[in-house]
């Protein structure tokens, strides 16, 4: 198994205000799989993604990637894990505001031993002519594409996407989803996408539904749709 989560628990706060966000998550994801974590606000899906991404740590349980448990990793090893294996895409893009578009992507490329060619990637993303602009000079969709470029350029094993279309309009959302799907198909990248948009589940290989910190269903999608076919 490529990615395995076992009995992941996470709570916030103390005493009476303590809230258990994750109540024991077991999940297995195959290499190259496109997995959607679906659930309403407060279901714990983003927390789960952050734990997978090493941004947050579980109170108990473990995550193993290629058989290596992240709990056994020290801080440096955990950084190396993110550096070598993960690409991250956020709802609010999180670009570095004082770097131009190309530089934002290059910041990702710097981390990889075998990065993708930056200019080629920018052309693929439709950003080449905007490469000298600052993020605040671009639309939301263009900024998200830049964030995708930054995540992809280092050719990660796993692409973690946290509501990547949450701040975008319908058309742009579909463009972004198509882009992620292309990457998944072209490079065989494992994609884990958090969303509350029910329609998106139809493009995934695996759909995991969460509610109240627990997995309510975990099923393979037998009837995958293309992005074009998605409607919401």
């Amino acid at each position: 198994m490529f990615l395995e989560l076992s009995q992941i628990k996470r709570a916030f706060g103390e005493g009476e205000s303590r809230v258990e966000v994750l109540k024991g998550i077991d999940l297995k994801i195959e290499k190259g799989e496109f997995c959607v974590l679906l659930g309403p606000s407060g279901s714990g899906k983003s927390t789960l993604l952050n734990i997978i991404g090493g941004i947050d740590t579980a109170d108990s349980g473990y995550i193993s990637i290629n058989g290596e448990k992240t709990a056994d990793m020290n801080e440096k090893a955990l950084t190396r894990y993110r550096r070598k294996h993960l690409g991250y895409i956020f709802q609010m893009y999180n670009l570095i505001p004082n770097l131009n578009i190309k530089e934002n992507v290059e910041v990702g490329a710097y981390l990889s031993d075998s990065p993708l060619e930056v200019d080629e990637l920018l052309k693929t993303l439709g950003l080449y002519e905007h490469r000298h602009k600052l993020p605040n000079q671009l639309s939301g969709g263009q900024q998200q594409r830049t964030a995708i470029g930054r995540a992809l350029v280092k050719n990660p094993d796993i692409l973690l996407c946290d509501e990547p279309t949450g701040a975008l309009d319908y058309k742009t959302s579909k463009e972004i989803l198509a882009l992620i799907d292309d990457v998944h198909n072209k490079y065989g990248t494992t994609v884990i996408m958090v969303t509350h948009n029910d329609a998106i589940k139809n493009m995934a290989d695996r759909v995991v539904k969460l509610r109240d910190g627990m997995i309510r269903s975990d099923r393979l999608n037998e009837t995958k749709l293309t992005v074009d076919e998605l409607e919401w």
């Binding site: 952050n50 894990y81 999180n94 770097l99 981390l111």
Partner: protein, 750 residues
């Protein structure tokens, strides 16, 4: 209803407690030191100003070559519109320790004494001594010491109001309260010393006091003519030009100005630090501000909110600073003056001036700078705040950087350009910190160097100035002549110039004068004179002028002097051939009658400037060193930390991407490191230049010359202290970077 925004103040304070604590402490330090200084300074200035009337300080003093007849004195008083008071003194050598003690008789009408301790002399061997001189030689009421073979008993410790700075001679560059002192005895005790070293000195008071220095100058110019027509003058010193009377007062005034200037410069820098940090807070809280503005909060309310913490910090620091200033630091500041000057007793009281200068004005500076900057920053529309777009006009464009440069270097350059305003404040902070540090470090080596240069370039171990030509059997002694003229430069006040007539083939002054004169390097450097220039000097107590052509210089770094050959000297000043009035000698001349020697200039006399300056400034220099370092560390730390805080989300994002801490430090801390180190390197020569210019300006008003020389070790020390201080800051900054959580990047998604 109370402003609900006030609830946010506590949170903001907690979040930036470190910053506010450091700024608060710095405010306390600055305001405490300045108020302590102003309070003691004002007390002393008031006492000093009152002393002119209270102790009847003279309008001037003059000395005759010979004892004048009563009729001559009466004529002078009548024609000069003055009243003369006999104020004879004898310069005696102390036997118990090495010093010259100027002894006066009783003073009841003029230049009266202020008693610090004990009482005025009543017995023949009683002496009341100047406070500092007594302190420097561990004498107190009840002590005894030997002077010219007599045992004197100290009966009182006093301040001579005409010697608030112990200048032995008006031509001295610096006062000397160790090797020179003043004392008063009963007339009987005074007369018991022989008359070998008696000076026929008189103090005068005008019948109608001059209104100001300019009038005093006009009146003294008239008076000197009147007096010199009736008697041979040895000395003529109007009070307005008497350093012994005015130096301390001027210094008290000047230091007050310097201290306040320093306070205000620091306040401006601190105000800008607040501006930069508050702007960063505003950027961070843009959406909150946008929401509040959209909800109906006015721009003024927002400005008021963001000004509260800086102003409250200053207010709290003002209270604490003033309390510390009045209680603890006043004594410390006063000690610095009382350790240098023989001031009269003074009292400290609440001082509205000090409050205005050290509290109200800094408050206004801080208020105006913050208000201006915040009004500008908060004038954007609520929508812009909501969109977190705080740029004015068009969106800021990225300028292009050569893509041939590696991404990490470009990243650093972008950080640099993003933070230019902060770096500019850092550079100013470094310049200010360096200036203080430089000032604290430079004096010791400079004084040592000055002393060494002076000693290396002494004409002879002894220069005997004679009252009249007298022969010696010492074959190694060399005859020469000397007299005093005054400079006539329009831009500068007149100062004494020693004119030397040097024998041909002199073994002491080896110089080829040609047809003109050689001038001392001190004079050349002080007045920027060059070979070929014409130099006009004037006789002190007459209108007679002399013009010389400068044909060379002579390495004589401490004195304002010119050198010419002896024959030309006699010809120029219409003296008989073969005239001489000084001996240069490396030996002590034993066969000359003491009464015929006016003075003997030795190593001690030549080095008293550096000795006194070391004593006066030594302890305060350590304060400067530490203050400079504190300034340095504070400015760099606050602004560098701000750069990190401002980029917290980007730093967090780079962590998520998988950058190691050392790589992130390489981006965010090393950029500041490069700026700080380059600034430290590049601003040192500038600071050297600035201090040099200030130094030259200040010393231009002093008699003589004190060369500003920077020792390379001072530069190196500054640099090393700078680097060590910065290393400390960088260490803390690295930890700050490490502490930024990965989840920080997720904050704006909330």
């Amino acid at each position: 209803m109370r402003d609900p925004l006030n609830k946010r103040l506590g949170k903001q304070l907690r979040e930036e407690l470190g910053k506010y604590t450091i700024i608060f402490l710095f405010f306390v330090m600055m305001i405490g030191a300045t108020s302590g200084f102003i309070v003691s300074d004002t007390g002393m200035i008031d006492a000093y100003n009152e002393s002119f009337e209270k102790y009847s300080i003279e309008d001037g003093n003059l000395e005759f070559m010979l004892k004048p007849e009563d009729s001559v004195l009466e004529d002078i008083e009548k024609d000069g519109g003055i009243k003369l008071y006999e104020n004879y003194y004898k310069d005696e050598e102390t036997d118990s320790f090495d010093s010259t003690l100027r002894i006066y008789g009783e003073r009841s009408e003029i230049d009266r004494l202020c008693i610090w301790e004990g009482e005025l002399p009543s017995a023949k061997n009683d002496i009341a001594l100047d406070r500092l001189y007594a302190k420097n030689h561990s004498l107190k009421p009840g002590s005894s010491f030997q002077v010219s073979g007599r045992t004197l008993n100290v009966c009182g410790i006093v301040a001579f109001t005409d010697y608030s700075a112990l200048y032995e001679s008006p031509t001295d560059l610096m006062f000397d309260n160790d090797m020179f002192g003043v004392g008063a005895m009963t007339d009987e005790g005074f007369e018991a010393f022989n008359d070998d070293h008696l000076h026929y000195s008189y103090s005068w008071m005008y019948d109608k006091s001059p209104a100001n220095d300019s009038e005093a100058q006009d009146m003294s110019e008239e008076l000197v003519k009147t007096v010199s027509e009736k008697a041979m003058l040895q000395n003529f010193i109007p009070a307005y030009s008497n350093q012994a009377i005015h130096f301390a007062g001027n210094d008290l005034h000047n230091d007050r100005t310097s201290m306040l200037t320093f306070l205000y410069i620091t306040m401006v820098i601190l105000a800008f630090i607040f501006v930069v940090t508050t702007e960063s807070t505003i950027a961070k809280e843009a959406s909150v501000i946008g929401t509040l503005r959209a909800s109906g909060y006015t721009k003024l309310e927002m400005i008021r909110h963001y000004m509260k913490l800086p102003m409250y910090t200053l207010l709290a620091a003002s209270v604490v600073g003033n309390v510390i200033g009045y209680t603890l630091l006043e004594k410390y500041m006063a000690a610095a003056y009382l350790g240098s000057y023989s001031l009269t007793t003074y009292e400290v009281s609440f001082n509205a001036d000090a409050f205005l200068l050290t509290t109200v004005i800094p408050f206004v500076i801080m208020f105006v700078i913050n208000l201006t900057a915040l009004a500008r920053k908060l004038s954007l529309s609520p929508l812009k705040f909501l969109r977190r777009d705080l740029s004015r006009g068009q969106k800021k464009k990225a300028f292009r950087l050569n893509t041939g440069i590696g991404i990490m270097t470009r990243f650093r350059l972008r950080i640099f350009f993003q933070n230019i305003p902060g770096y500019i404040v850092i550079i100013f902070g470094i310049i200010l910190g360096y200036s203080i540090l430089f000032f604290g470090l430079m004096f010791e080596p400079m004084l040592d160097n000055f002393k060494e240069e002076t000693l290396n370039n002494m004409i002879a171990d002894n220069i005997y100035v004679l009252r009249m030509p007298v022969e010696t059997d010492d074959q190694n002694a060399e005859k020469a002549a000397m007299l005093s003229l005054e400079t006539t430069f329009e831009k500068y006040k007149a100062e004494d110039v020693s004119v030397y007539g040097i024998a041909d083939d002199s073994k002491f002054v080896k110089i080829d004068h040609g047809k003109g004169v050689s001038i001392s390097t001190a004079m050349m450097n002080k007045y920027g004179l060059e070979k070929g220039d014409r130099l006009k000097l004037t006789e002190k107590y007459s209108d007679k002028d002399y013009e010389f052509t400068i044909t060379g210089s002579y390495d004589y770094p401490a004195s304002i002097a010119i050198f010419m050959d002896l024959d030309s000297f006699c010809e120029t000043f219409e003296l008989d051939d073969g005239y001489f009035n000084i001996y240069f000698s490396d030996d002590k001349l034993e066969d000359i009658d003491e009464r015929l020697i006016m003075s003997r200039i030795t190593e001690e006399d030549m080095t008293k400037t550096s000795r006194q300056m070391t004593r006066s400034m030594g302890s305060i220099m350590n304060v400067f060193k530490w203050f400079g370092v504190a300034m340095f560390v504070m400015v760099i730390y606050l602004l560098a930390k701000l750069i990190i805080e401002k980029n917290a989300q980007s730093i967090s994002m780079t962590k998520i991407l998988g950058y190691y801490d050392r790589e992130i430090n390489g981006l965010y801390v090393h950029t500041t490191t490069i700026v700080a180190l380059l600034s430290m390197l590049c601003t040192l020569p500038l600071v050297d230049f600035l201090i040099g210019a200030i130094f030259k300006m200040v010393f231009m008003n002093y008699s003589g010359y004190f060369a500003y020389e920077t020792d390379l070790t001072v530069m190196l020390k500054c640099l090393i202290i700078g680097i060590v201080s910065y290393s400390l800051v960088a260490f803390v900054l690295n930890r700050s970077v490490k502490k930024i959580p990965l989840a920080e990047a997720l904050k704006n998604a909330e």
